[in-house]
Amino acid sequence: MSIPREAYQTLQSIVGTEWVSDDPAICEADRYCSLSSPSEEKRRPGCSIEPVSTEEVQAIVKVANRYKLPFVVTSTYYSAGTYCRKDDSILIDLKRMNKLEIDEENLYAIVEPGVVFSALQADLFKRGLCTFVPGCGGHASVVANTVNMGDAPLGWRYGLGYQRLLGVEWVLPDGEMLKMGSLSMSKDYFWGEGPGPDLRGLLRGCAGHQSRMGIITKIGVKVFPFVSEELEPEGWAFRSFIKLPPNRFKWYNIRFYSREDAINAMFELGRCEIALVVMTVPPIFRGVARTRGVGCGGFWEFWKDAGPKLNPKQMDLRVLLYGIGSDKRLEYEEKVLLDIVKEYGGSPREAPCRDETNFMAADAICANVVGGRFSSEVSYESINQAVRYSKVVDKITDEHRPPILQEYNSTDWVCPYELGYIAKMECLRMASVEDNYALQEWKNDCQDACAKGGAYALVPDNKVFGPIWGNYPEKEDKIRAAFDPNHVSAPG
């Protein structure tokens, strides 16, 4: 089996022979993606193609429909779930589409899928603006991440990814174009929803379709006010950081001696509407951060000593105070923070005025340095759910089988967003490289517990959750069937 010759020739005429290939090596290199379930079989694409414009994308999708060839889209290749599940798929790689415009005055950027967060952020910083770099990495595509996930610690102040979507240019699975928001009626990207019912609702829910509903070729994305001071990097490769102006930022690490106190402090920080970042710091995160650049061996040397000393009852919060807009604001925020910390019996410690992983870079992949693979159970719900559900997941982790990593304390990360209206919870589970299936089993157990406890988890298993969550898979199937009559957009 292979892509029909006629179809392939048409693809060549669309993008030029340089930018489409069915060479086995090109296709083999596009077989996998970084964040995917190890148990799912990944097929080598029938060909890989690199369009440079929306018109080319549209033409490719129409060819796929004409010949009923499945297609899968990827962009920076730091991707979640966008791999081929069917033979003779066309892998559409959007890296060459990397145009970027910024409307400085009206706080939005227009980006194509090849633009990554760190690049956008660098251009924004020069203008006293910012976006936020997702935890998975500053080298993730702004478009892909925003339509799929889109969260990061700066979201405490600036909200979640789905809220950042403005005008969207969307090539539907049948090759038809859908323009949304203000773009539906003009060439403006400044406004997101409508007209009328908001079809961004088709684009993503808790997470995105991962290529199963066509291809987003361009979006307007909100950006945010930021300090006007220049932020300079410093330090070596894995020890690099951005120096933060001390009149605008101040980090505090705060140790609480009971989880309840830490949680209540988080709620109170939300009510007081202070800070740019608020999150818990699981000890394993700290371990990885401290031993960055010394490899797996270095990590273990640190951990075997530090791990057993951890007190499982305590919880650490990390708070970045934010003195935007007024010289006295930082002072105010600090006083309020310290009031709250005092009230809940925490021990505050000021941390160096710099940022390693929130502004430009991010380090989710670092966790691999512990020496194996990791999986995570993630949910976006209230701070209360985050705390309750993470306890359940921790228990499963402890009982499941001896983990390769003795965590000594919870691995759960609680990262509230939007001043506490919603919170992310992420629990990590480590396994050796060869032990991928153990991760899948663990994941299944978490999902069962989620279903039983009435928690709301990300990327649920349709078979488990469909019947109890309003039969949502049926609705999705109906929508997909209507928009993808030939069943070509990342099927399977």
Partner: protein, 420 residues
């Protein structure tokens, strides 16, 4: 060349996060210059990237993939600049560069590679001990009449093929500089090619011959220190020779310094002062072979403890390269204003020449250099300064092609102007 088990382990450890395509994210200064990997930036298919090649390596080893035309194209277009390698060592500690080098070696072993132009280098080296096929007897023709090298001295200047034949002005500047600084130095009467490109193109047998000859010649010279003005020679003598001999740099019978390290030390010791003013705004290009690839080599027999602890391994992470000495020198010359580019030190964008690319794919080398020239232009500097003849060569071509109006100098030329 990695042994099979280790090769497989390294390739399999990659999680395809794509960090290998970017500079240190904290150091990205603009979207325009936000990439690290030349082949990725130019050709875009994932195969043209470190993780693409690592995955191919695994597939080839498992018999799922052959050296197809595209795999050959991607593999040999890589400049081996090592940006991917040190980036990965922020996160995963994969020996990315060694896997790519090993894949090249496997390609050569199977008779599929290297490129015809690379084979010609080997033919030239066999014929006349230099990669250009030039007359070996003319190797020292560059030596200016006003410089008299010593017969016996602690310092040996290892010139390298490019400065001996193509860029004699660099060798001449180096020799005059040492001479005017009052440093007695020798040159080898029978210097052979360092073998740099042979190592890079997987032609290891001949590369080893070069190593054996040059090591013996250095040893026989009685020199205490070997100085190079060529970043490629520097890296080859410092890292490639011990690597092929399965030794560590510290176990080699010589120590090697780049001219900038040596001069920097002389300046610090108060033994050399640049008295003449050189009024010029310059920007400095870090050669990959003097920067992230310039660390000592540490021989290590793979040994792991669970979960993935490399027992007794000393890592090369790219931060011990020669970054500061050239900058110290430029800053120490009156009149020089050093304006940094956006991607510098371990994040420097490759000039495009390395890894045999300048030889086999000059157009791509020029494209890569063009990117660097564009970046240099944004600094507003009048000139680009580097420390490697091949960097000078290709950046010079690019600066002209891009109509930047910028001149390109080797640092030795600048130093010579300042000392005269």
């Amino acid at each position: 060349m990695l042994k099979v088990e280790e090769y497989k382990h390294q390739a399999a450890t990659c999680v395809r996060c794509s960090y290998c395509k970017f500079p240190d994210l904290n150091y990205i200064k603009s979207s325009r210059f936000s990439r690290q990997c030349p082949i990725d930036t130019r050709y875009r298919f994932n195969l043209y990237s470190a993780h693409g090649l690592l995955h191919s390596a695994l597939a080839e080893l498992d018999g799922k993939l052959e050296f197809t035309p595209k795999l050959m194209d991607a593999l040999w277009h890589c400049t081996l600049c090592g940006g991917c390698d040190i980036r990965c060592k922020r996160n995963l500690d994969v020996e990315v560069l060694q896997v790519i080098e090993t894949l090249r070696c496997r390609c050569v072993e199977q008779g599929k590679g290297p490129m015809p132009e690379h084979k010609m280098l080997a033919d030239n080296v066999k014929k006349s001990h230099n990669i250009y096929g030039a007359d070996h007897k003319e190797r020292l023709n560059w030596m200016p009449e006003d410089v008299k090298p010593a017969q016996k001295a602690d310092i040996l200047y290892f010139v390298g093929d490019p400065s001996s034949y193509r860029h004699p002005e660099i060798a001449q500047a180096t020799a005059r500089l040492l001479s005017q600084a009052g440093v007695p130095f020798m040159v080898l009467a029978d210097e052979w090619s360092s073998g740099h490109e042979l190592f890079a193109t997987g032609q290891l047998e001949l590369a080893r011959e070069m190593a054996d000859h040059n090591i013996k010649a250095i040893k026989d010279s009685g020199a205490k220190k070997v100085i190079t003005s060529d970043a490629e020679c520097y890296k080859t003598l410092k890292a490639d020779y011990p690597k092929i001999l399965e030794k560590s740099t510290e176990d080699m019978p010589y120590s090697v310094l780049h001219i900038t390290e040596y001069v920097d030390q002389l300046m610090k010791d108060g033994k050399l002062k640049f008295r003449r003013r050189v009024p010029m705004k310059v920007t400095y290009h870090d050669p990959c072979n003097l920067g992230r690839l310039a660390e000592p080599w540490y021989h290590w027999e793979p040994k792991y403890e669970p979960p993935n602890i490399a027992v007794g391994k000393t890592w090369r992470r790219g931060y011990n390269g020669v970054y500061e000495p050239p900058r110290n020198i430029l800053k120490g010359i009156r009149g020089i204003e050093l304006i940094e580019m956006q991607r510098v030190w371990d994040n420097a964008w490759c000039c495009g020449y390395g890894g045999g690319v300048g030889t086999a794919f000059p157009d791509f080398a020029l494209w890569t250099a063009g990117e660097r020239a564009e970046e240099a232009r944004t600094t507003g500097a009048e000139a680009i300064v580097s420390c490697c003849p091949n960097c000078k060569d290709i950046l010079g071509q690019a600066a002209e092609a891009k109509k930047t109006g910028m001149k390109v100098y080797d640092i030795t030329e600048i130093m010579l102007r300042a000392i005269r």
